[in-house]
Symmetry: D2
Subunit: 205 residues, 4 copies
C-alpha cells in the first residue's frame, strides 16, 4: 500500500461540544460529558484503531476475505457511531422550538408537523430499554423527508442526509433517568437546536 492513504488514515479527532453541557434542561452535565467522552470519544479511538488494523490486514494476502470483512463491519459500525454522535450533539443545545418555516417544511413532507412529531416520538419510545437511533432524514435518491429507525450504528438509510438525530442507546439517558426513557424523550425535544436542522435541510436545496 502506498504511504499516503486517506481511506485508511487513523486521523479522526473528537469534535468538541458546541454547547455548554451545564446548561441543558433535563440533561445533566455528568450524563452529557460521559456520553461525549466515553461513548463518542471511545468510538473515535476505535475508528482510528480499526483503520490501522485494516491497513495491516489489506497487506496480508493470506488473510481470508471473510476475516477481512469482520474488520470492515467494525469500520462501518465505528464510522456510524462517530458520524451519528457528532450530528446528535450538534443538534442539541437549542430551545426546542421549531419556527414557522421549519414547521411548514416538515409539514409539507409529513402532511403536518404534528404527524411528524407523533411518529418520531413513537419510534423513540419503541426503542426504550434497547438501543438504536431515530433519524429524520432527507433521502437524496427518493427526494423524500422521512423518519428512519436504526437498530444500531451499522444501520442506515441509503443515500440519506440526517437532519435530526436522536440517540436511543441507554447511555443517552440511564444516568439521569434510569429506565424512564419517556422522560429523556421529553428532554431531548426541549433541547433540539432547530437552527441546525434548518441549516442541514437548506444544504439539500
Amino acid at each position: 500500500m502506498p504511504a499516503s492513504n486517506p481511506a485508511f488514515a487513523p486521523t479522526h479527532q473528537p469534535k468538541p461540544l458546541t454547547f455548554d453541557p451545564t446548561k441543558l434542561p433535563g440533561l445533566s452535565e455528568k450524563l452529557l460529558r460521559s456520553h461525549w467522552e466515553n461513548n463518542y470519544g471511545g468510538s473515535v479511538k476505535a475508528l482510528n484503531t480499526i483503520k490501522q488494523k485494516l491497513a495491516q490486514a489489506l497487506a496480508d494476502k493470506d488473510l481470508p476475505p471473510f476475516v477481512y470483512n469482520d474488520l470492515k463491519r467494525e469500520h462501518l459500525m465505528r464510522t456510524g457511531s462517530v458520524v451519528l454522535h457528532e450530528l446528535y450533539f450538534e443538534n442539541l443545545g437549542g430551545d426546542g422550538k421549531a419556527d414557522a418555516e421549519m414547521r411548514k417544511q416538515i409539514g409539507v413532507a409529513f402532511g403536518d408537523f404534528n404527524t411528524w412529531e407523533t411518529e418520531f416520538r413513537r419510534m423513540a419510545a419503541g426503542l426504550g430499554g434497547g438501543s438504536g437511533w431515530v433519524l429524520l432524514g432527507y433521502n437524496r435518491h427518493t427526494r423524500q423527508v422521512e423518519n428512519y429507525w436504526l437498530a444500531d450504528h451499522l444501520h442506515g438509510p441509503a443515500d440519506t442526509t440526517p437532519l435530526l438525530v436522536m440517540d436511543m442507546y441507554e447511555h443517552s439517558y440511564q444516568l439521569d433517568y434510569g429506565a424512564a426513557a419517556a422522560k429523556y424523550i421529553d428532554a431531548f425535544f426541549q433541547n433540539i437546536r432547530w437552527e441546525i436542522v434548518a441549516a442541514r435541510l437548506a444544504r439539500m436545496a
Copy 2:
C-alpha cells in the same frame, strides 16, 4: 392524519433498466430480468405496502410503539433495497474501464487505484455465499471516499452518497454461476459504467 402525506404515500414506481439486458458480457438476460423484476420489483411493491401499513398503524393510538417499529424496520429495509438496487442497475451497462481522471480521483482517496480495487474485490469475495452489498461511497460528513461493507439492505454508512454499488445477494449471480461468486465479481467489474460513478462523484464537488 391529513389526506396529503408524502412520507407515507405508496407511490413508488419501478425504474426501467438503463441498458439492454441481452448485451452484458457475463450476466445473462435471464439473471438480470429476474433480478430486476423479482428482487428489485418485489421491493418496490413491498415498500408501497409497508407505507400503507404505517399510515394505518400511526392512526392506531393503542398500538405499542415497539410493534410500530417492526414496520419501521421493514420500511428501512425496503427503502434500502429499492435505492441500492436502482443505483446498482444504473452503474451497470458500461465497458468496465475507468478513465484516467476517475483512476486519479480514486487514487487520491486510497493511495492508488489498485489499492481501492483490491479492497473492493476482497470485500465482495468475503460476502460470497451469503448476502449483502459492497459500496464505494462519499461520506459527506467526514469528506472521505471509502469502501463500505453492508450485511443487508438495513445497513448503511451514515450521511454517505453511494458512488459504486455492488449487490452480493445470491440472486445477483446464482442463476448464472451457482456458488462461483468469483466469476460474478469479474463479470461485475467488466460491466461497470464508470461514467455514472464519475457523475455521482461530480455532484459531491
Copy 3:
C-alpha cells in the same frame, strides 16, 4: 494457552449427506451438491480458520477486546451455519408425510397441525428473495414448541433445540427455481424426513 484446548481446536469435519442426492423430487443433484459442498463445506472450513485466528488473538494481550469480538461474531456465525446446515440436510430425504403421532404432537403445541404448517410456510414465503432460516424448535426453557424466524446464521432462539430446519438462503433454491421460492417451499415439504423430527423431539421428553 495450554496445548490442549478443545474450544479453539480447528477439528470440524464435514458430515456426509444421509440421503442420495440424485433421488429427491424437486431438488436437483446439482443444487444439493453445490449447497453441501460450497455453502455448508465452506462454513466448516471457515469455522476451523476462525478458531485458529481466535487462538492467536487470545494470546495477543494488546488486541482491543472489540476487535477480538469481531472474530467471536464470525465464530457465532460459522457455528450457526455449520450446525443449522447439518440439521437441515439431516431432515431432508424423507417422504414428506408426518404420521399420526407426529401430527398429534405438533397439534398439541399449535392447536392443530394445519396451524403449524400455515405459519411455517408463511414464514418461509416471507423470507423469499432474502436470506435466513425457519425453525420449528423446542424451547427447553419455556417448554414450548414454536416456530422461529432467523434472519441469518447469527440468529437463534435461546436454549432451543431445533426439530425441523429449513434453509431460506437463496443458495437453497436459486439454481433450480430462480426467484420462485414458493416452488422450493413445496419441494422442501415433499422431502421432509419426519422420522428425524420425531427422533429429535423424543430426545426432549
Copy 4:
C-alpha cells in the same frame, strides 16, 4: 385457529428474583430492581402482546408474509430477552467462587479455567458501551462448551444450552457505574452463582 393454541398463548409470567437484591456486593438494589422490573418485566409483557398480535395476524389471510415476519422477528427478540434475563438473574446471587470440580470441567473444555475466564472477560469488555450478551454455553450438536458473543436478544448459537449468562446491555450497569463497564464485569464475577452453572451442566450429561 383452534381455541387452544399454546404456541400463541399470551401466558408468560415474570419469575421472581431468586436472591435478595439488597445483598449483592457491587450491584445496587435500585439497579437490580429496575433491570428486573423494566427490562425483563417489560419483555414479558411485550412477549404476551406479540403473541396476541401473531394470533390475529395468522388469521388474516391477506397479510403479506414479510409483514407477518416482522412480528416473528419481535417474537424471537422478546423470547430471547425473557429467556436470557431469567437465566441471567438465576446465575446471580452466589459467592463468585467456582469449586474445584467446576474449574476442572471448564478447564477440560478450554485447556484451563483461566483461559475461559480471560476470554469471557475480554468479550464482556468488548461489548462495553454497546449492548449484547456473553454466554458460556453447551452446544448440544457439536458437544462443545464454548463462549458465545451475542449482539442482541435476537442472536444465539444453534442448539445450545446456556450455562452462564451475562447481560452487557447498558441497563445492566449504567445506573451504578455509568460508562465504567469494567467495574460491572468485576461485580458480575463476584456474584456468580456457580452452583447453578454446575446444575445446568449436569443436566447435559
